[in-house]
C-alpha cells in the first residue's frame, strides 16, 4: 500500500470540505459537498472498503445532495448574511486544543495498515475465516450485515421508517 494515490485524494477532500463553506451561494455549497462525498467514496475504494464506497457514492453523493437541493428549492438559495460577528472565544480556544489532543494520541495508535493492530486480531479473523462456511456468501460484509447482525439491520429500517414519518409530519401542507 503506497501513499501515491492517498495524499492527493486527502488534499482534495480537505479542499472540497473547505470550499463547501466558503462559497456564498448555498446551491454551489451543496454541489461542492456532493463532490466531497464522491472523493470520500474514492478514498474508501482505495482503503479496500468497496461496500462503503458504493453506499457513500449512492447515498452520500446522490441522496444527500438531492435532499439539500429539495430543501433549497423551497427556501432561499442564498446566505443572506453580509457581515459575520466574530466567532465565540470558546470555539477559537477549545477547537485547536481538541485537535492537539487528538494528534497527541497519534503516538499510541497502531501504524496505518498494520495487520497486527488490535482491531484486526480480536474478533474479525473469526468472521473472515468462517463466514463462507457458515453462510455460503463470499462477501463477508454482506454476511455480517444480513446474517450475523440481522437484528441490527432490522432496527435500522425502523430508524429510517421513523425518520420518514417525522418528515411527513413536518412537511404536511395542512400542518399549522
Amino acid at each position: 500500500m503506497t501513499y501515491s494515490f492517498e495524499l492527493p485524494l486527502l488534499a482534495l477532500l480537505i479542499l472540497t470540505a473547505g470550499g463547501a463553506i466558503i462559497v456564498k451561494e448555498l446551491i454551489s455549497a451543496v454541489l461542492i459537498l456532493g463532490a466531497y462525498s464522491f472523493f470520500l467514496a474514492l478514498v474508501w475504494a482505495w482503503l479496500g472498503a468497496a461496500d462503503v464506497a458504493f453506499v457513500e457514492a449512492v447515498v452520500g453523493a446522490g441522496l444527500a445532495t438531492v435532499f439539500f437541493l429539495l430543501t433549497l428549492s423551497q427556501t432561499s438559495p442564498e446566505d443572506t448574511r453580509i457581515r459575520r460577528p466574530p466567532p465565540p472565544i470558546i470555539a477559537v480556544i477549545a477547537l485547536p486544543l481538541l485537535g492537539l489532543l487528538l494528534l497527541y494520541a497519534a503516538n499510541d495508535l497502531p501504524a496505518f495498515g498494520d495487520p497486527a493492530s488490535p482491531a484486526s486480531v480480536h474478533v474479525s479473523p473469526h468472521y473472515i475465516e468462517n463466514s463462507l462456511a457458515d453462510t455460503r456468501t463470499p462477501n463477508v460484509v454482506t454476511s455480517v450485515l444480513m446474517d450475523y447482525r440481522v437484528l441490527d439491520t432490522l432496527i435500522e429500517t425502523v430508524v429510517v421508517f421513523t425518520s420518514g414519518i417525522a418528515c411527513w409530519l413536518l412537511l404536511r401542507r395542512d400542518a399549522e
Binding site: 465565540p88 475465516e129 413536518l170
Partner: protein
Amino acid sequence: MLELIEAALSRPNLVAFVLLLLWGLYITITHHNYVKKLVGLYIVQTSVIFFLVTTGAKEGATVPVILSGVEAPGAGDYVNPLPQVLTLTAIVVQIATLGVSLGLVSRIYRSFGSLDEDEVLEKLG
C-alpha cells in the same frame, strides 16, 4: 515534541480526520445559516466514519470478498470487515437524521421566512 510531529505526519489519515472534524465543528458553531450548519454537521459525521474505516485497513490485503475457489480464507488476505459493516449502518442513520433536520429547516422557513438563526430568534420573541 519532534517525534510527536513525526508520528502525526506518518499517519496522514489521522491528520485529515482531525482537520475535517475541527472544520465541521467550527462551522456548526460559528455559522448562522441553518443549511450551512447542516453542511458542517455532515462533514463531522463523515470524518468520524472515515476514521473508523481507516482502522480496518491492512497492508497487502484486498476487499473482504472471499475469492472463488478458496475454501479456507486467511485473515491476513482480506481487510477487516467489521468497521465497514458498522459504518454502513452509520451512513444510513446519518442520511435519516439529515432528512429530518432538513425537513425541520424547511418548516422553519415556512413559518419564519428566513434561514438565518438570529432573524428567527428575533421573530420568536
